[in-house]
């Protein structure tokens, strides 16, 4: 805030005695509290937009699985969000944002507490935002990470082992690795840059999904006698809706990550981020549109949807610095990556039902590298260091957890149960009971 300005008034005040400026403390002017209010608002609006992404993941995944596994996919999505919300409060938030702490081990597992009701300006950090809004905003990010995993492992993993993995991922793994950078840990000190989380959120989700997909194996019949047997999604309208929801939520995801909105510079930067985010999504979609037409002589809607999302993931590591043209080509490459890596994974017999690994992991890596093109303060070396650090920690960590879960309780339903679909076999409830499936 504008100190000199305050002085003016105080000085002026001095002229007229008995005006006791001190008493004013309880009600400081907007120059002092404006930025706090605006940034808190940014977190609240950004936060509910990112919350909305949970619905986006749910619809995208429900649309891309077969009708016999839709109820299960919906159950996983709403449950994982709810569990993430609780775990992040219970230990995650304070594990991730200790400020000082570098995240290698958790000194104190303490649940999150917010500022008191009706807190006064004197008792908050007027340079930032309310703890409540910050917690609300950050919480949505960890949920996104977990959603990424559910999509990749769809149609073949039992409910409970998956949810237990979510507990570990959202309560411990994500917060620890997140603290390296956003908690002010060693990577941030090393100069790593990941504005809104191409690596910290998306690649981490992708790594956990990759580990799971490997341990779990493909859906029955997906790869038979050396051939890929596609299992088309049951509802592309839902899948498209989900993509639009994610696109919308991403404005909050990237825009809110400016972490400030109370100055001309900050709010203008948020605008820049909105514009760039939109451009990257659009170019990712168009890239996939054109590329699938060229490669397959037919446009593949599911690839266009993945392309838009890949564009979004690609720009997430640096949505501020690039020009609109920069956002365009960075996003477009994200879309291209998806079109080529989706079939590649199939060749490797890694079964990723919704394309989560190409979209979030591969495009996430690309986006993290692309930072160096527009952000002069970054170096390819530190970027790659970060990518590797998150990859090794999350992939290995996830592998271990998946193996333990497999040993202890098993990950997959019986063959017949999987064939009949998890909805009837595990939940005894169809998503579309009135409709004749064929």
């Amino acid at each position: 805030m504008n100190l000199k300005y305050l002085m003016t008034i105080t000085a002026a005040a001095a002229v007229i005695p008995a005006m006791g400026f001190a008493q004013d403390a309880p009600a400081p002017g907007f120059d002092e509290i404006g930025p706090y209010i605006m940034t808190t608002l940014l977190f609240l609006v950004g936060g509910f937009l990112v919350f909305w992404m949970a619905a986006g993941f749910a619809m995208l995944e429900a649309g891309l699985v077969r009708s016999k596994n839709v109820t299960m996919q919906l159950t996983k999505n709403i449950s994982l969000f709810s569990i993430a919300a609780i775990m992040y409060w219970l230990i995650g938030f304070n594990l991730m944002y200790p400020g000082d702490f570098n995240g290698w081990f958790a000194p104190n597992f303490v649940p999150t507490t917010l500022e008191p009701v009706g807190v006064s300006a004197a008792d908050v950090d007027l340079g930032y935002a309310s703890v409540g809004s910050d917690f609300f905003f950050q919480l949505m990010f960890v949920a996104a990470t977990a959603s990424i995993v559910s999509g990749a492992l769809a149609e073949r993993i039992k409910l409970w082992p998956f949810l237990i993995f979510v507990v570990v991922l959202t309560g411990i793994m994500y917060p620890i690795s997140g603290s390296w950078q956003w908690g002010g840990g060693w990577l941030s000190e090393a100069g790593f840059s990941d504005f809104a989380g191409s690596t910290i959120v998306h690649s981490v989700g992708g790594w956990a999904a990759l580990a799971g997909a490997i341990v779990l194996g493909p859906r029955l019949g997906k790869y038979k006698d050396g051939q890929v047997h596609p299992m088309p999604g049951s509802n592309l309208a839902l899948a498209t809706l989900g993509t639009f929801i994610l696109w919308l939520g991403w404005f909050g995801f990237n825009g809110g990550s400016q972490l400030a909105a109370g100055t001309v510079g900050d709010i203008s930067d948020v605008s820049r981020i909105f514009a760039n985010t939109n451009m990257a999504a659009a170019s990712g979609a168009v890239a996939a549109l054109i590329l699938t037409q060229i490669l397959y002589k037919k446009v593949d809607l599911t690839m266009v949807l993945n392309g838009a999302l890949a564009g979004l993931v690609s720009i997430t590591a640096e949505p501020l610095a690039p020009t609109l043209f920069g956002a365009l080509w960075i996003g477009a490459i994200g879309g291209i990556i998806v079109v080529f890596t989706v079939p590649m994974l199939d060749k490797m017999k890694i079964d990723d039902v919704v394309g989560a690994i190409p979209v979030h992991l591969f495009a996430g890596i690309w986006g993290t590298i692309a930072v160096v093109f527009y952000n002069a303060d970054t170096s390819i070396v530190t970027q790659v260091t970060g990518i590797i650090a998150y990859g090794v920690f999350t992939f290995v960590g996830a592998l271990i957890v998946w193996f333990i879960l497999k040993a202890v309780m098993g990950l997959r339903p019986s063959e017949e149960d999987e064939m009949n679909g998890l909805d009837t076999s595990e939940l005894g409830m169809e998503a579309y009971p009135d409709f004749t499936k064929g």
Binding site: Q227, V228, H229, L295, Y296, K298
Partner: protein
């Protein structure tokens, strides 16, 4: 009476129904089916993976008519459903022993 079962291309349904009504067919049962036959087996691409489509959507007609009418119904379906392209479909004729109209209890030809 005869039961005539025909598998035809879905977009021909309306035309066939009209042609049959024209020759006096007063009822039928229509079912969406997946057809397998010589037409099957063309390939599609989904997310970069080629796959063979073994079943093609068809419409199945089941029509019970008096023995006398059977041949006419068969030929009407055959000529109307024809597009000269593979996958036009098949027509089968089976013998029906008896028929009843639920509403009235009328039997056999009167039931149709």
């Amino acid at each position: 009476m005869k039961l005539i079962i025909a598998a035809i291309k879905p977009f021909k349904l309306e035309e066939v129904r009209e042609a049959l009504t024209a020759i006096g067919v007063r009822g039928m049962m229509v079912t969406e089916i997946k057809g397998f036959g010589s037409q099957s087996g063309h390939t599609e691409i989904y997310r970069g993976a080629e796959y063979a489509v073994n079943f093609v959507p068809k419409v199945k007609l089941e029509i019970v008519v008096s023995a006398a009418m059977a041949d006419q119904v068969v030929s009407t379906i055959q000529t109307t459903a024809k597009t000269d392209k593979i996958g036009d479909g098949k027509i089968f004729v089976l013998d029906v022993e008896s028929a009843v109209r639920v509403r009235t209890g009328e039997t056999n030809d009167d039931a149709l």
